[in-house]
């Protein structure tokens, strides 16, 4: 069976976003865990905890976005 360029492109894009989402997924889960625990221990601080949580999630999520952009470039541009 001959493997065409398109097949490789789609496979690469799928692998890029699939593997790239593992780390950020774990990371965001850990951030959520920490945030929930912190809010549970000190409900008064929920505002500042939420702020820091969203910041940390944004940093973790950026990695997944890089993977997404690579996947998008592979599909639409490369």
């Amino acid at each position: 069976m001959e493997i065409s360029k398109d097949v490789i492109k789609l496979l690469a894009a799928g692998l890029a976003i699939g593997l790239g989402a593992i780390g950020p997924g774990i990371g965001i889960g850990l951030v959520g865990l920490g945030g929930a625990q912190a809010t549970g221990r000190n409900p008064d601080a929920s505002g500042i905890v939420l702020t820091n949580m969203i910041l940390a999630i944004a940093f973790a999520e950026a990695v997944a976005i890089y993977a997404l952009v690579v996947a998008l470039i592979l599909i639409f541009v490369a």
Binding site: G47, I48, T51, I54, L55, A58, E61, A62, I65, Y66, L68, V69, L72, I73, F76, V77
Partner: protein, 311 residues
């Protein structure tokens, strides 16, 4: 009466669900597959070709300016009814107060000077993201002949042309597309954000701010640790450029992925299912606006804090 309406709505909803479950997978024979492209589509206006994200951007600007002009008209006219806000003025004041209090809680006294920039970032990105969810975006436009790649067939119904399933040589060029699905817009916002961070840093610390990046003083007089400080400064310089990329791609990636998600879901299961993803996109749009504002605020807080200064 109210109960009858509710029951009717539920029945219609379940009916649509069942209907779309039937025609969704089977309906591949008449639902048009979306044509997705990363660069903005352009349509001709006179001699030039205008990208549709530019139209989306201007529309977002108009909506934002109009909303706030209308919301503050009593205040600007100095009328007494401005003292007891009603309707739109209430909304505008509530949004403004929420943002100002939120930013003051993060930045403290330093917030005042940055409030206009940060709140503009938030509101502009919010409106530009949410405007994508209005009907007509990505779906109404010009039918154009495809020069390369595959296209769809067209069918004329009355005055309008519709794309239909099946091979052909036409494609849709939408008039409207959300501004942030064009990499240029998030990248421009990112450049403004990072540049203004430097400006606020210089304002707070004077020209000594740049010793954060090129620390010659430490290199000359600091000994071995001074060399270390110098290298850390080089890393800081690189991370400033990484910031531009990560700001830009985060916003672009989220909103573009949202657009693709909505288009694909709408073509797979045309009824009911897209509503859930519309709710998701409302959330994503708001979170991205908040994240952009908060990251700018956090980076500015770091830049204005000063080297070796402790609070």
């Amino acid at each position: 009466m109210k109960r009858v309406v509710t029951v009717l709505a539920v029945i219609i909803l379940i009916g649509l669900c069942a209907f779309s479950c039937i025609i969704g997978p089977v309906g591949q024979n008449w639902v048009v597959r979306p044509h997705i492209q990363m660069a903005a589509e352009t349509f001709p206006v006179g001699p030039v070709r205008v990208p549709n994200t530019l139209v989306g951007l201007l529309l977002a600007d108009l909506v934002l300016i109009g909303l706030f002009l209308a919301g503050t008209r009593h205040i600007r006219a100095g009328r007494p009814e401005a003292m007891v806000p009603r309707g739109l003025q209430n909304l505008v004041e509530a949004v403004y107060e929420f943002l100002v209090n939120f930013l003051r809680s993060i930045l403290g006294e330093r917030a005042e000077k940055m409030l206009p920039l940060l709140i503009t970032f938030f509101l502009f990105i919010l409106v530009a993201n949410w405007i994508e969810l209005f009907p007509g975006f990505d779906t109404v436009g010009l039918i154009e002949r495809v020069h390369e790649g595959e296209g769809h067939a067209v069918r004329q119904v009355g005055l309008f042309l519709f794309l239909t399933h099946g091979p052909g040589e036409y494609r849709l060029v939408p008039f409207l597309r959300a501004a942030n699905t064009d990499l240029n817009v998030p990248l421009a916002l990112a450049l403004i954000s990072v540049f203004m961070t430097q400006v606020y840093g210089v304002q707070a610390l004077g020209w000594g701010y740049f010793s954060r990046f090129i620390n010659i003083k430490a290199l000359i007089s600091g000994g071995p640790m001074g060399v270390m400080d110098f290298l850390v400064g080089l890393l800081e310089t690189i991370s400033e450029f990484i910031k531009i990329v990560s700001f830009g791609f985060r916003l672009f990636g989220n909103i573009f992925a949202g657009m693709v998600l909505l288009l694909v879901i709408s073509s797979l299961v045309p009824f009911v299912a897209p509503v859930l993803f519309y709710i998701l996109e409302l959330f994503v749009g708001a979170v991205q606006a908040l994240v952009f504002m908060m990251l700018t605020a956090a980076f500015t807080a770091v830049a204005t804090a000063g080297h070796g200064e402790h609070h």
